[in-house]
């Protein structure tokens, strides 16, 4: 399917730049061109299609659905699934949180959404598809959705309402479930399309520098780091590799586009997939800037419980992956 990109990369490197096919530089450059073109293409397709879905399920409709319907336990899964189609921007997490809580949506269900939304979004899925292929992407998406569902379910058991900041507790008192169905403005598909297209281009433009840098670093490592280099230090028999890489990843800022291409090379050079996925989930799902934002609505105690629970779930899924593969 992507042979033509490989042909372009080969042509540029060996014919236009006339580099020897045996040199490290040629290998790294070839990898860089091939990966950049392939990933950008896939990324654009995914962002565009997720944009179409999202245009029909705006966050207001999601909130209305979760607030209006009694789902008898399925609400965690539904919130988590909705989280996947909603584009995530950490600066929206506070308005989103308040919006959910004031609609009478339980805290645990809100957390289920908050966990999955950054973990499984259009950029992460597009990158995964480009770097790891369809099979691993599907596994990642399913485990992301389950992670949100389970974390939300566990967090609900803790009765965490008492750890919200006082003004949020006030809102909670007046919270009401919505009764009426959300009516979205009717807009023709042909009217929506240019907006979605423009939106997709804007997202790509925003992450392009990080992505190219990530692929460039990945390309260098690909050419210069010997096969099996990391196996020595971070192999499967090394039981603390998963928790250490997760805990390292949590404070990092959630820019998946720069980090994923590097992680892909790490996996190719012998780091077990579960360890790598745990690391990525830590980077993408939780971050220090997000904690600072959530401080407006939660006490430190609640933030610690939230981050702690999700971190433990990530570590467990990392071990599970390593066991399966």
């Amino acid at each position: 399917m992507f042979d033509w990109i490989q042909n372009i990369a080969d042509y540029l490197v060996y014919d236009v730049f006339s580099l020897s096919s045996k040199s490290h530089l040629a290998e790294a450059l070839n990898f860089f061109i091939y990966d950049s073109v392939k990933i950008l293409l896939l990324l654009f397709v995914i962002i565009f299609f997720m944009g179409i879905i999202n245009s029909y399920f705006p966050i207001e409709r999601v909130k209305n659905y979760l607030s209006r319907n009694k789902l008898f336990g399925l609400e965690y899964l539904m919130a988590s699934l909705f989280g996947t189609v909603t584009p995530f921007c950490s600066c929206s997490s506070v308005p989103l949180f308040i919006g959910f809580v004031s609609g009478g949506i339980p805290l645990g269900v809100t957390f289920a959404f908050l966990v999955t939304s950054p973990l499984v979004n259009e950029v992460a899925v597009g990158l995964f598809l480009g770097l790891f292929g369809a099979k691993i992407t599907i596994i990642y998406v399913i485990s992301g959705v389950l992670l949100g569902t389970v974390s939300g379910f566990i967090l609900q058991r803790f009765k965490l309402e008492r750890y919200l900041t006082s003004w949020v507790k006030e809102i909670l008192k007046n919270a009401e479930r919505e009764q009426e169905e959300f009516i979205a403005e009717h807009q023709k598909f042909s009217k929506r399309l240019p907006v979605i297209w423009h939106e997709a281009l804007t997202i790509i433009k925003g992450i392009l520098p990080y992505l190219l840098l990530g692929i460039a670093i990945g390309g260098l490592m690909h050419g210069y780091v010997p096969e099996g280099f990391f196996e020595k230090y971070m192999g499967k028999d090394n039981w603390f590799a998963v928790p250490v890489s997760t805990i390292l990843a949590v404070p990092m800022y959630s820019n998946a586009s720069g980090i994923l291409p590097v992680v892909q090379v790490l996996v190719a050079k012998g780091i077990p997939l579960g360890t790598a996925i745990a690391f990525m989930m830590g980077v993408v799902g939780l971050s220090l800037p997000e904690a600072m934002l959530l401080k407006k609505v939660m006490t430190w105690k609640l933030i610690s419980i939230f981050f702690g629970t999700v971190t433990i779930c990530i570590i467990i899924s990392g071990y599970l992956f390593n066991l399966i593969f």
Binding site: I59, C91, S92, V94, P95, G99, S102, H198
Partner: protein
């Protein structure tokens, strides 16, 4: 007319504010532009994704940065 940009201060919110100011200046539109950062005020517009654009107390854009042409059309339509 009154234009409000709702946003907690993220890069996207600031980008939208800048765009709106440029358009208003460029076309010499008589408008009062305010940036609303207070979360309670933002919530009173029932907005859950920022940045949002409010023209004469009506939310016209949520959670995205429109193109210049779309912004101009929105602002002109409500002027």
């Amino acid at each position: 007319m009154e234009i409000k940009i709702l946003g907690t201060g993220c890069p996207n919110c600031l980008a939208l504010e800048k765009k709106v100011r440029n358009i208003v200046n460029e076309h010499s539109i008589d408008a009062k532009i305010t940036m609303v950062k207070d979360i309670l005020q933002i919530m009173s517009y029932n907005v859950m994704s920022t940045p949002a654009l409010v023209i004469n107390e009506e939310v016209v854009v949520r959670g995205r940065i429109p193109k210049d042409s779309e912004l101009l059309a929105l602002i002109s339509a409500n002027n």
